[in-house]
Symmetry: C2
Subunit: 477 residues, 2 copies
């Protein structure tokens, strides 16, 4: 039976100016987690959220995470956790978001003041954090308020977890989630995260997969100090010569990874999965526009989406220790550190990837016959995540999208990683859904970040509707 949502929807429309005001207040707090001097603003933003939640009748706690690792004089901002509703007959949904933002300054090239929400005549609401992630976080609060004012019973118990360090590596959060999984979060039936984006600008999506990332350093060293190429060129084996050869052996121009055994770790493509890509709202022109060029590897949309979502890729990011300035310097660097990473996908186990990478890099180096010393290390690894889009958490969200937007959502994956997703899945053992509010042009992390008014207001309806469908959806795990 389709839930009765008209009253709620109308209330959201009636409260839209109020909801935009709430977003304006949130954007005005420059809660930049990467900037030590802004730490009080991050804390203030957490307090703002806690106050708003309390006013809505939620039980709220601000949990300290202790001093910031490596900067022990700084306290990490608290995690704001809240519960709205405690009815044993209802399902309980755990939602996550973050209240910190990326750095921003007018001097970076913003057209407007980044911490003043500025709405243009097309309804684009510019401001740091508008789409990442203050808009979606407030979406949950707005949905609660609209239910209250419309006199509609809230369909689920809502558990909330809002952190203040997401843009700085979510310091301390994994431990917190693991510790609370069987305590504060114990009765969660599913998890929903609204912190990513539509693939394009017109069609909503549900996201069920993320690639992982294994990041490596290859350090090659020889001489005791940097050398002058006039004096030593031709007499010393140069670490940089070795390094560009090793880095050049990793991947070819068309993205084919040269490391034997890696491709065999990848889950085979089924016909069912292959059939999904053709219907996704995405074109090669979308790719060219976001690339700013036509230097793509694949000629068609299907291959491009598969390359982004379900196949691994290897990128060489740069070299530390070599000459990197403009101009000309005749240095032979004594120690150079190449950086590359592999985006990983099912079923690549990070340890298997490490083993194959180390073996291959060592073999390539040995081939050079160099007297220099190599040291390859894993800098960090985050595992890929894939959920079942057949779970009731997804089917409910799909119905909510259809109800609000009038279209079936695309089922998408993402090429990047949102590590907290996997943490929630592993800690709670529950299905996790990524339910984006914003669109591909929102410029999160960039200048002129914005959230379209349409995406914000309809997004509030979507989050509420999702909870109604969740309440009614039959249990399919």
């Amino acid at each position: 039976m389709a839930p009765q949502l008209d009253g709620f929807f109308k209330q959201v429309d009636d409260l839209s100016d109020h909801f935009i005001e709430r977003l304006r207040k949130a954007v005005a707090i420059p809660s930049i987690s990467a900037d030590e001097e802004r730490r009080p603003d991050v804390v203030r933003m957490g307090q703002f959220l806690a106050d708003e939640l309390k006013a809505l009748g939620a039980e709220v706690e601000q949990r300290p995470l202790g001093p910031q690792p490596g900067k022990e004089h700084l306290e990490l901002p608290p995690v704001v956790i809240a519960r709205y509703g405690n009815d044993k007959k209802k399902r309980t949904i755990l939602v996550y978001g973050h209240y910190d933002v990326q750095p921003a300054g007018k001097e970076d090239g913003w057209a407007t003041e980044p911490f003043e929400l500025t709405v243009d005549d097309k309804g684009r609401m510019y401001g740091r954090g508008s789409t990442d992630d203050k808009g979606p976080v407030l979406g949950w609060l707005n949905a609660i308020e609209a239910h209250q004012k419309a006199g509609v019973d809230f369909p689920v118990n809502l558990l909330m977890c809002f952190e203040g360090m997401e843009e700085y590596g979510s310091e301390g959060l994994d431990d917190f989630i693991n510790a609370e999984a069987k305590k504060y979060f114990a009765d969660a039936d599913a998890v929903c995260i609204s912190d990513n984006y539509w693939l394009g600008t017109e069609k909503p999506c549900l996201t069920y997969g993320l690639r992982g990332c294994s990041y490596y350093s290859v350090e090659i060293s020889g001489p005791g100090q940097d050398l002058h190429s006039g004096v030593f060129g031709g007499t010393a084996q140069e670490p940089m010569t070795d390094l560009v050869r090793v880095l050049g052996s990793l991947v070819d121009t068309n993205g084919k990874i040269q490391i034997p055994g890696l491709a065999e770790l990848v889950a085979p493509l089924t016909e069912e999965e292959q059939s999904l890509y053709g219907n996704i709202a995405f074109t090669m022109d979308n790719l060219y526009e976001s690339l700013g060029s036509q230097t793509s590897i694949h000629p068609d949309k299907e291959k491009t989406l598969m390359a982004r979502w379900r196949y691994p890729s290897l990128s060489v990011h740069g070299i530390e220790g070599a000459f990197s300035q403009p101009g000309a310097k005749t240095v032979i660097p004594a120690k150079v550190i190449g950086k590359f990473s592999i985006r990983t996908v099912p079923n690549m186990e990070p340890e298997d990837v490490d083993r194959l990478v180390f073996k291959y890099v060592d073999e390539q180096f040995k081939k050079l016959g160099s007297k220099n010393t190599i040291n390859t290390t894993l800098q960090h690894a985050g595992k890929w995540w894939v959920a079942s889009p057949k779970h009731w958490n997804f089917t409910a969200a799909g119905k909510a999208v259809e109800r609000v937007w009038g279209v079936k959502p695309d089922l998408t994956r993402e090429g990047g990683s949102i590590p907290v997703t996997l943490t929630f899945e592993q800690a709670t053992g529950k299905n996790v859904l990524l339910l984006p509010m914003g669109s591909s042009t929102d410029a999160a992390h960039s200048i002129n970040e914005k959230l379209d008014k349409r995406n914000y207001i309809e997004g509030i309806k979507l989050l509420g509707a999702y909870l109604h469908y969740v309440a009614e959806e039959e249990m399919i795990n």
Copy 2:
């Protein structure tokens, strides 16, 4: 007939404290040409030299070079030119040196104040500019003074050219030398430059060759802006992938340049030349000590010296535009610029080198089948220089070394370049000799630069003795 030098030599010994005081005064002036704020000190140092020269009876001029290119608010420091003696029956020797110095600060790790000459109990005189190049420049002035006080006739007419921008690319000097070659410098019979170093610490040398340097940039670009490797990895052709492959194709670990045709440009090794290397005072341990490692290409001294002096080498210096900081950043750089240079030797014409390099790099890039764009450019080229060590300028210097130091000097070349050398040779058409005063451990350009008291005092004798032998040497061009 051997010149009578005992009176001069004794006078140098008697004046040694006075000469060290003169060096102390010069070192105390922080004439750092790279530091805008020190420009008045550079000018003050030029004035100091001019005053000292006038006091010795030389005709002195300070020639302005105009505003500094790219920093037009700054006047270049003047070239101090001087003439001592104008006897048509005598030979005229043109000497060059520079009165500016490299930057230095106690905070860089100096054990003493860099601009206070500090003499230790082993006679090592520490101070910025002591060996590079204030000691040698004052050597000429000291030689004049010792002749005067000993009542010994000065054996030649001495033309002097001392610049104040050598450590910043000798801005403006080439034009000046070319303009004065047939004017102020018109009657020079030969040129002598004391601005390099012995190969080791115990045996003097005369230097008759320098390698050239052709410095290249390879820019590869594709996307319109830097990309996130999660979102675009596997779908975009990455400029960095192409660049490490191109750079990796240039040279192997043992220094073998892979560019076809380049080796054929190198002058063949004659038996006569080959026989010279065995006697040079140099050991593999000297190399290992200066490398700070045993990561040498060649197993023996002869091959090492030939590789440094008479064969080309190729060094990859670094990459501009890629991630070069510590840590991990998952960027796909949109535009990367690889830097490499080739040390060139006789008979490599720079234009031929360019042609072969451009052709090879283009071919390597074409092989990749990339849609990215490549742009290879020559950043700068300085040609190699080789003089005839059989010229009277060299044979006179050889006799002077034997007289002062009791050994025949090594005839050496250098792997690096001193561009003014070739400028003087081409502008005047005369033989140029490099006659070093300091030794290999003097740490020019580094912290704790020093000149041994022995090298300074015996070096003054050497410069004077050289002029006496020059006056008597039969003309062999």
